[in-house]
């Protein structure tokens, strides 16, 4: 608008039109000839509400009147979620569903049920005490489908029986079983860890579980160098340590109440003398500041030789995360290798075979496929171990001589571990599982061989999580 007007102003004087006999409308707004501002729409002579327009035949347009929408005052949008509330909701674990039908034939898990070869393909439920213990160590994950069924229950698979068998055998020989669980996406590696923990709890082991290795290395917890450690400098994570101690205490309270200390720990905030219950040792860690020394003291107490300690299960989920450079920085702003973090070092030492538990135990780690970094040296090491276990020396994968991404420290840790593949389930196990689903009122089919085979195929040949997706988590009419 303004541009056209202006050009016209510049082109000829405002009076030129009249002088050439061009009809200029009277109501045309006269502007200053060189003005660049827009012509105001306001009438030059604004019709006023006065006596001259009392004649109704003359229509008067009201100018400048707008419809006004009354703005509502502050809308009540409710309270915004408190800090941490959203995360709590995201991480919420629901373990039962009252709308699901109870399944009559499901028995409770007992100490020996996971090692019973006859029970392969059956479903056992987790007793309430065990549920609390597992909750304390965060063994349940929100992505798993516990919330669909009446009671949290788990399928006894061939692999789980094998795994438990290895744990038991290690304890018999007072050795440490060092196992890495690998397998496809959602094939049940974390659940297998949960079963191992369940077995440990039911058999009065001490369980120390790192629920997510990612939390240790992604720079989300505070860290500090441990004094008097050189080459390499180690780092402690006191906050994480406190959390871990609390979860250990909550999960293993009964056992710790019975175990007594064998040496005095004067360096702790609370002086612990000989023959005090270990529970009081853990209780010494009230704040984050003293957590790491307490944890160290606890670890040395647990590993004390000749004190008749119970077997220990040390487990970790999402192993690949601790096999890389962490997000932490040293004082010289260099990135810290994950194995220089004291807690991680503790675990990797145990996994690498440097720690010996006095009455045996197991170190179990589960890899993850979905949200894990690719660690070439770990993948290679696991493949090599698998080839060695299968006695396949010809098909042994070799290092790519020109690839630079290998990590020697990782290789060293995984050099002697045992690799267990969590594979697809067989049709027999699938049938047991699907019968349980149907009996819980979640599968609207007759569970016969054909139905089982169909879901087994849709689940990529028996990948448990995929079968769940195909059968339970998709809308069906």
């Amino acid at each position: 608008m303004s541009a056209t007007n202006c050009l016209r102003c510049l082109g000829r004087p405002a009076v030129a039109g009249a002088s050439r006999g061009v009809i200029v409308p009277v109501f045309a707004p006269r502007t200053a000839p060189f003005s660049t501002t827009a012509v105001q729409n306001a009438m030059p002579g604004k019709p006023q509400k006065s006596m001259e327009h009392q004649d109704r035949s003359v229509r008067v347009y009201r100018a400048g009147k707008k419809m006004k929408i009354k703005k509502k005052g502050n809308l009540d949008r409710g309270k915004p979620p408190a800090p941490g509330e959203r995360k709590a909701f995201r991480k919420k674990i629901v373990l039962s569903n009252d709308n699901a039908l109870p399944v009559p034939w499901v028995t409770e898990m007992v100490a020996g049920s996971l090692s019973d070869r006859k029970q392969v393909g059956t479903i056992v439920s987790l007793p309430p005490v065990l549920q609390d213990q597992l909750r304390a160590t965060e063994a349940f994950q929100p992505t798993q489908t516990w919330g669909l069924f009446r009671k949290p229950s788990t399928l006894i698979r061939q692999e789980s029986v094998d795994l438990i068998g290895k744990m038991e055998k290690a304890v018999e020989n007072k050795e440490t079983a060092r196992i890495v669980l690998t397998g496809e996406k959602i094939s049940g590696k974390s659940t297998m860890l949960l079963q191992a923990q369940s077995h440990a709890y039911l058999n009065n082991w001490i369980v120390i579980h790192f629920p997510d290795a990612q939390e240790l290395i992604n720079g989300s917890t505070e860290y500090a160098p441990i004094p008097n450690t050189e080459n390499p400098t180690l780092y402690m994570q006191q906050n994480y340590c406190l959390k871990l101690l609390q979860s250990i205490k909550k999960a293993n309270e009964k056992i710790f109440a019975k175990l007594l200390s064998v040496s005095s720990h004067s360096e702790l905030p609370q002086n612990i003398t000989v023959n005090q219950p270990l529970l009081s040792l853990i209780n010494a860690a009230k704040e984050a500041e003293g957590a790491w020394p307490v944890f160290q003291a606890l670890w040395s107490e647990l590993n004390a030789q000749g004190a008749n300690r119970p077997p220990i299960l040390l487990s970790m989920d999402n192993l690949p995360h601790i096999m890389k450079i962490s997000e932490y920085r040293s004082a010289s702003f260099d990135k810290i290798h994950a194995h220089d973090l004291a807690l991680v070092k503790l675990f990797t030492d145990a996994l690498g075979g440097n720690a010996r538990f006095p009455s045996g135990g197991a170190v179990i780690a589960a890899t993850n496929r979905n949200n894990g970094p690719r660690i070439p040296s770990m993948e290679l090491a696991l493949k090599q171990r698998l080839a060695v276990q299968n006695g396949d020396s010809e098909g042994m994968p070799v290092k790519d001589p020109y690839f630079k991404g290998y990590d020697e420290r990782v290789e060293k840790v995984l050099k002697t571990v045992e690799v267990m593949e969590v594979n697809r389930i067989g049709k027999k196990e699938a049938r047991g599982l699907m019968e349980y689903w149907a009996a819980s009122g979640l599968l609207r089919t007759t569970v016969d061989e054909q139905a089982v085979s169909e879901k087994w195929t849709l689940g990529g040949g028996g990948v448990l999580g995929e079968m769940e997706r195909a059968a339970l988590l998709t809308m069906k009419i």
Binding site: S453, T457, G461
Partner: protein, 306 residues
Amino acid sequence: MASIPTTRRGLAAAMRGAARPRSLEQQFQAMRLSAKCSRCLSTESFQAAPEIDSEKIQGMIQARHARPVPVSPSYFSRTSRFNDSYLALDKLLRIYGNLPIIPPNAVERVSWKTLDDFRHAVGEQVRATDYVKCLAIVKRLHQIHPKLKPAPVIQALNDFKRSVQAFKNETVKQQLDKYGRSLGNGRRKSSSARAWLVEGNGEVLVNGKTLADYFGRVHDRETAVWALHATGRMDKYNVWARVEGGGTTGQAEALTLAISRALMVHEPALKPALRRAGCVTRDPRRVERKKHGRVKARKRPAWVKR
């Protein structure tokens, strides 16, 4: 002209050609090499065409009249070749019309030339009504009992048959190979799939991966094995498939078709069931082309005042 006339008929044709100019394409077609000559591009030893002996040709054309006289009496008509053949057929009908005929449903099915085909063949603008009449005679002659059908009739009818006889096509019956596999292929959108079906226990491998590995969406997995699901054969067969092109949905639906076709080789009786399940017909829909002046295939640009 185009080809050197060696027979009287050819001469007549040439004369006709001279009288009524044919299109250049037609002339060039007439000039094209016969099938016998197409060998010349092969690498075997080949003898070039013999030279034309003009004396010999002159000997063959024996002038009966002092002036050249058209061969055909219908030479001066608009559609002379058609008229000739029409008259010939009429004559044949008069001669052999009372031979025994067989009922129409027992007659061997033949695809006759369409009007366009015939016009193209004779190079004349034959009228549709005339051709219909002519074809009626053809069909009547064709109805003569095949054992009694005289040679001239057969020869005359050949001019009206299409070069490709679709009714003679036989569907190739597919069979299992020596490993007990059947191969079916399917397409959808721009995907194409080949599926080898073998008796087994319900394993499916697509491009070497399991169904769950290859298709992230459960719906796609179900679509891919829909043919087996619909016929209750999920646990009876193993599938080995190669898929390429397109997106996941297209690939899954291409697999449906491929598997159902492979299944029909194993069990042809399942065809009706598969048809009911919608696994027999290829879905011909493809992405609609974009048009100029539009934003997408259908979407129109927003109306803007000035």
